[in-house]
Each structure stands twice: as structure tokens, then as C-alpha cells.
């Protein structure tokens, strides 16, 4: 770490998001504006002198010797975590690591890996692994009038309410794994601000040709599946279980394979409306 500290640092910023304090420093001036849009949603500048995790980004300057591969190198504390000639790729790695660290270290929130939309004053959670089609389903729900909360994390507080993590939607538009970022407004939707109580949780995965006929899960089964989507359950099992217990009261749990997103999105919103009405009565 001392060796890294001795390098010259042109600019840096302290970042606070969800109670987690991190720092980012860059060796070359002018790079800062490129990673500001990648910071966790709702971030604020932090004036703390000590941070929980310090990112150091070494970017080669224009005047470096010809013939050398111009590598951008990213360190998290003293560990090198990314190295590539393409700065955008390294910034993508910074975004992934920073968001995941924030999710893991947030002191008073539990982060669940799930897409989230707001619907009739309740949150609908769509937990799922990568490439299960969460973002596609979120996009279709936004087109049908839902409010955008997240395509990555459901952030649950101590009262069991769901907070937004509304980064731009990352949509994979072809067979590659590269994502294009879109704002919720692109799909005619607003981004939610207010924490919402939970209405429904839908565990589904895209399967070509499948008909959306979900089975309902019991409260305990649903809570177990949600635990399997929690980022910090291994390090904070007690808080995770307590927040999940508060979260799931009165929620509807559905599970099944889905076909095309548009059809499933309409059905999920419809089932959720029925569940929400029943809960309110």
C-alpha cells in the first residue's frame, strides 16, 4: 500500500453511499468525470479522512514511451483487481466492485440481488441470478406503468421497506455480455424515491416457449429463497434474517418459468394487484 501511496495522484474523491465510505484516486487528471456516473445511486461526497475501501486507478499518460502497452490498472486497497488497455473495461470493473462492496458493507441495510419496481404503492421484487432476465422483465413492467426502483438490488431497511437503487438499466441487446445503459425515462417510467412495503416476490427464469403458470410459495419457502439472494447473508446472517422477516409480511410469493417478458410482466402486475388489494382489505 505504501508503494501505491508514493505514486503521484492527480485527483480523487471521497464517496458515501448507504452508509459506506469509499475513496477513489486517479493518477491522471481528467478521468474523474468518467466514473462519477458509475458511482452507487444516491452517493454523496464524503469528507472523511479514513475510508473503508480505497480504489487507486493508474491511467497511463499520453507522453509515455512508445511501443509499451498502455495499461490501465485498478487497485482496491493494495490488491490489483483489474488491468486492461481499455479504460472503459477497467471502469466497468470498478463499478462492479464498488457496488458489490457497498452492498456487502452497508451497515443498516440488507441488499438482495433483485430487480424492483413500484406498483400501486408496493414493491415487486424479481430476484434472480445473472442472465435470468431480471432487467428485461423490469423494462416490460416499466412500459406497463410501473415505477423504476432497480435492476440490480432491492435495498431493505430495518423496517422491512424497500429503497431504490436506481442506477440506469443495463440491457444486453445481443448475444455478447456487454450492457447498454438506459434511463427509466427511456421506457416512459419514473424513478421511485419513497421506500415501499413489499407487495410480491416473483422468482422466475426465462425459458424459451414456456407458459407463465407460477406456483405460489409459502412464507417460509419464499423467505429462504430471498436469503439465497442476499449479498451479505454469510457475514451478517442475524440482520439479514431479521430484515427479511419484516420485509415479507403480507407478501405474495410466486415461482415458475416464464416465456416472453411482455406477457409475463402483464400477468405479474395483475396477480400483484390482486394480492395488494387483498392485503389492504
Amino acid at each position: 500500500m505504501q508503494k501505491l501511496d508514493r505514486l503521484g495522484w492527480a485527483e480523487g474523491i471521497g464517496v458515501s453511499a448507504f452508509g459506506v465510505h469509499t475513496g477513489i484516486r486517479v493518477s491522471t487528471a481528467g478521468v474523474l468525470p468518467r466514473f462519477l456516473p458509475l458511482l452507487p445511486p444516491g452517493w454523496k461526497k464524503s469528507r472523511r479522512l479514513t475510508v473503508q475501501r480505497l480504489y487507486s486507478l493508474v491511467v497511463p499518460e499520453n507522453g509515455q514511451r512508445a511501443g509499451l502497452r498502455r495499461m490501465n490498472i485498478l487497485y482496491a486497497d493494495s490488491e490489483r483487481i483489474a488491468r486492461d488497455t481499455d479504460l472503459d473495461q477497467v471502469l466497468a470493473a470498478l463499478e462492479t466492485d464498488l457496488h458489490r462492496y457497498t452492498a456487502e458493507a452497508a451497515p443498516s441495510m440488507t441488499f438482495l440481488h433483485a430487480g424492483v419496481v413500484g406498483w400501486q404503492g408496493r414493491a415487486i421484487l424479481l430476484p434472480g441470478r445473472s442472465l435470468s432476465g431480471k432487467t428485461t422483465l423490469v423494462r416490460e413492467m416499466l412500459r406497463l406503468g410501473a415505477t423504476y426502483y432497480s435492476d440490480e438490488f432491492a435495498v431493505v431497511d430495518n423496517f422491512g421497506k424497500v429503497h431504490p437503487f436506481s442506477r440506469p438499466l443495463g440491457i444486453r441487446e445481443d448475444s455478447t455480455f456487454a450492457q447498454t445503459k438506459y434511463s427509466a425515462e427511456t421506457f416512459g417510467a419514473a424513478s421511485g424515491v419513497k421506500p415501499l412495503p413489499l407487495g410480491a416476490v416473483v422468482f422466475c427464469k426465462y425459458k424459451s416457449g414456456a407458459r407463465w403458470r407460477p406456483a405460489s410459495l409459502s412464507l417460509g419457502q419464499g423467505a429462504l429463497e430471498l436469503m439465497g439472494s442476499s449479498i451479505a447473508v454469510r457475514t451478517e446472517p442475524q440482520h439479514t434474517l431479521r430484515r427479511i422477516q419484516k420485509l415479507v409480511k403480507g407478501a405474495v410469493f410466486l415461482k415458475g418459468a416464464r416465456g416472453e417478458a411482455r406477457e409475463s410482466a402483464a400477468s405479474i402486475l395483475d396477480i400483484s394487484s390482486t394480492g395488494i388489494r387483498r392485503e389492504m382489505e
Binding site: 483487481i81 488491468r83 456487502e104 440481488h113 438490488f153 417460509g220 436469503m227 454469510r234 446472517p237
Partner: protein
């Protein structure tokens, strides 16, 4: 010959009630378990002092339905398989689901005891990540946590 021990629930696990089910988290093995109503009721009674027959009698009163000893044996088997009981010298007697259903009758008043388990994910597995062979520049991007930086692909 060693004396058969009465079943005892582990006390070092975290547990939370969800209606009549219980979610148990085993911190030693990082595994979560959902105990359905019958398994949960049996687990709560396993104090190391009561025998299976005594458990069956108490459960019959608690659940207001006849609970046979074979159903309790089945619950104990499920709980032992999930390692939610203090390990005893004597193995839990195996009762087949078929035998239990026969005892209960087709439309039994209680659910057959069931424990569903799920391994808690690591942060890397739980969050968005790239599958095998997708382009990467960092271990943090890959679900495997392993990026072959020379090839620029997730292992």
C-alpha cells in the same frame, strides 16, 4: 451397549419464525433451512429429554391432530439430514415417506415434515456476475471469481 439418546436441537443456529414455519441459518456451514409446520413444531420440542413417543404425544395436542411416532421419526430424520440436531451416538431410525403417508392416511390432517435447504451464496455469486468464457478484466466480474486476464475471459 450405548443408550439411545433423545433428540436435541442445535442451539448455535439462528432461527426466525415465518407464520408456522421456521427459517434456520447454520452459521457453521452457511446453509439456510426452511422447516415446514410439522418439522418446525418437532424441532422446537427437541430438548434432549423427550423421546420420539413423547414428542408424538405433545405434537398430537399442539396440532390438534393425531401424530404417529413414525411421523416424528420422519421429522427427526429430516432434521438430522439437515444437521439441525446435536449428533447422537445412535442413528435416527429411518421411516419412509410411503410408510408415513400410510400411517397418516391419504388426507392426513398435518403436513408431512419437510426441511428445505439452501447454501448461502458468497457476495460474488449473489450479485451480478459474468458466466464462464465471457470477456472480463477483473476477477470481481466473474461468477467463478476467476478471470483469465491473458485470455480476457472468465474461467
Amino acid at each position: 451397549m450405548k443408550e439411545r439418546q433423545n433428540p436435541k436441537a442445535r442451539v448455535d443456529c439462528l432461527s426466525r419464525e415465518f407464520g408456522d414455519e421456521i427459517l434456520v441459518y447454520d452459521r457453521q456451514r452457511n446453509v439456510g433451512h426452511c422447516l415446514n409446520s410439522t418439522a418446525a413444531a418437532a424441532w422446537k420440542l427437541c430438548d434432549g429429554k423427550r423421546s420420539a413417543l413423547e414428542l408424538a404425544n405433545i405434537l398430537t395436542q399442539q396440532l390438534s391432530a393425531p401424530v404417529d411416532e413414525s411421523v416424528v421419526q420422519m421429522a427427526l430424520e429430516e432434521l438430522a439430514k439437515a444437521r439441525l440436531l446435536v449428533e447422537s451416538e445412535a442413528p435416527v431410525r429411518r421411516t419412509s415417506r410411503r410408510e408415513a403417508i400410510r400411517t397418516l392416511g391419504i388426507a392426513g390432517a398435518i403436513a408431512l415434515p419437510l426441511v428445505t435447504s439452501l447454501v448461502a451464496p458468497t457476495p460474488a455469486r449473489a450479485a451480478s456476475c459474468l458466466p464462464k468464457m465471457s470477456p472480463c478484466v477483473s476477477n470481481t466480474q466473474c461468477c467463478s471469481g476467476n478471470c483469465n486476464t491473458n485470455a480476457g475471459k472468465c474461467k
